[in-house]
Amino acid sequence: MRTDDLSRQIVESIGDCVKILTLDGRIQYINNVGLRMLELPAAEALLDRPLAGFFEGDVRKAAESAVEEARANRHGRFQYEMRTSSGVVKWFDAVVTPMTGESGAISHLLAISRDITARRRDEAFRDSQHEVLEMIATGSSLAAVLDRLVLMVEQRTDGMLCTVLLLDEDGTTARHGAAPSLPAAYMRAIDGLPIGPTAGSCGTAMHFGRRIIVTDIETDPLWAQYREVALGFGLRACWSTPIFSPQRKVLGSFAMYYDQPRSPTDAEIRLIEHGANIARIAIEHQRASQAVRQSEARTQAILRAIPDWMFVMSADGVFLDCHARDTSKLVVPPAAFLGRNIRDVLPPSVAEPLAQAFMRVCGTDNEAKVEYTLGSEADERIYEASIVSCDHDRVLSIVRDMTDRKRAELDADANRRELAHLSRVAMLGEMSGTLAHELSQPLAAVLSNAQAARLMLDHAAPDLEQLRLTLDDIIRNDRRAGAVIDRLRALLRKGDIALQPIDPNDVVKDVIDLAYGELTSRRVAVRSDLSSGLPLVLGDRVQLQQVVLNLLLNGCDAMNATPASDRQLTFSTATHDGSVEIAVSDRGSGIPSDQLERVFEPFVTFREQGLGLGLAISRSIVTAHGGSIRAENNADGGATFRCQLPVAQRG
């Protein structure tokens, strides 16, 4: 019996429920720990009853087989759930082992049960947590995720109810988030209430951005406004913690309610923070995915709005994807080219330059532009592809139908040529007086010389040397008149633009020669300040002359009121930064500073004569040459017009 006593002592000291069973599985003994676990005052009610008889169904079978195992000298094991006499459900893990008597044979069985309720809860909590996180990850609605989260936290602690409130974007109004276990009427009552320094636990927690523990709603001043409502639903304690974004912006609150006054344990504080943390993840995730959806919707809207076609191509030219608002406009339908190489889809003259551009651009920051034409001869269309790298091995080709624009450009070009011509005619018309003078001078010389020669011939001994000189002068002046006519004919010509390398100084000199009469009759002195060795510009001689002539006439007009001795027009040329500048400065009264740009608008004129188209046309000519023209006032009076033209590229 000493052994037996010792055994009992050991058994009583074990923290688990220990039962000794007879070989047929009847309870013969239960230790005090076991009685406490089952919340029983004494062992009598259990004794001599079969262990398996306390269970039902599968658990009973498991218990029976565990007893059987032990009788066969092995370990039997089963788990069971049991409601204590106070009604709390507990989980146990039971091991049944054989006990060997002094004879060496199995005399009794030992059943040891361990309370695993806390462990089971931990496991259930972990499972729930995985479930909640999975819901977040798979894009469940925020309401569903928060409901599940609240149930998960509630399951962790007995008798506790949770809520999640969300703070509106305006930062002042609390909205219902989740409260699956609290009465709906209570949640309706607090939905939409403003947060503040005394707005219950949650409203106050969101207002101050810190945890608020109210141990007794009945007495706490924070609940003054909502006390009746809460007490009406049997709520007595409420602990709330704010939910923060990573930027410490309050997103909402996570709260625990109890039906009796109490303060939280450390574990409960940890739990409430844990709940708030998961709620933050859920809210953040929902907002992020909302932002992604909005961004996606925007992208889709942009794609719908873009008339261009977009092709995603592999670097070696295979069509991977395509976007077109109206696929019927595509020369080849998507089904016929997706997955195929561009060389097998488009004619070589088009496919080859595109394929080369794909290779060139892929993996770089560069953009390539390729212009090409497709379609039948009757309906040939012009396209421009802008090609950029989009992945390390893919390119995006954005294709635009340029046909209409190209045609419009050609039309505009023709219109501009026509207008420039009319303007030249008008300008020469204004100068007709002095231009006639240009012709009448040599003609007068020719006539006088011819008549002088005839008179010389009437002499008995004509001076043949004088006659030869006279005839030479006639020939020279006839040629001089011819040159004037040639210049006029060139300016009046209505031809296509003929781009050729031109020395800007020649343009200026030609115009000064042409307008010599005009300048003299207007008493305008000319100063030329032309740089030598200027690079050539690529341009149309006549049109550039027109620009300079227009600036010359404008300059003369600007000085109509200037004393004759002060009327000076300075022509200068210079080169810098890949362009050549031709500048014309007058000594007039200048241009009002707010009009410096306006003078280039059509029909804006400060001149008495002319339509006011000269500068507008000059600008369009210069712009068509890739240059620019602007006006500025001189520090010492008058205005300067500066015309910049790009230097012709060699080769």
């Binding site: 007086g433 002095t434 231009l435 006639a436 003078h437 240009e438 009448s440 001078q441 040599p442 003609l443 007068a444 010389a445 020719v446 006539l447 006088s448 010389n449 008549q451 002088a452 008179l455 010389m456 004088q466 006279t470 002068d473 020279r476 002046n477 001089r480 009469g517 003299t520 009759s521 008493r523």
Partner: protein
């Protein structure tokens, strides 16, 4: 007759001088009114281009007329001076380039007569 020609165009100046010399006149040429003023000569008639750099033909005429001696004057125009080709200014006939020897001779005679008439109309 002694004549002075003022014209900035050397070709015109030379040709006109050649013609008038062949017609038997003595001719002095000037490229501008300023040149004439720098070295004035007394002549029977001056033939002056309207369009001149510096002092132009019309201003030159005014200057000459403001002086006591009234020299006969013919103005030449290249039709670029917006003057009526048939017009005359007071006692000064205007010829339009190109003109022939008859026209010029008539204008010179006209100028001399007109100047005499004007002078005669005064106290002389």
């Amino acid at each position: 007759m002694t004549l002075a020609i003022v014209d900035d165009d050397q070709d015109v100046r030379t040709a006109l001088a050649r013609l008038l010399t062949a017609m038997g006149h003595r001719v002095t040429v000037f490229a501008s009114a300023e040149d004439f003023e720098a070295a004035p000569v007394v002549v029977d008639c001056m033939i002056v281009d309207v369009r001149l750099p510096g002092i132009n033909g019309l201003e030159f005429r005014q200057k000459l007329r403001s002086q006591s001696a009234s020299v006969p004057l013919v103005l030449m125009t290249g039709d670029g001076d917006r003057l009526n080709r048939d017009a005359r200014i007071g006692d000064t006939p205007i010829v339009s380039k190109p003109f022939d020897d008859m026209t010029l001779t008539a204008a010179i005679a006209d100028a001399i007569l007109a100047t005499k008439a004007t002078a005669g109309g005064h106290a002389h």
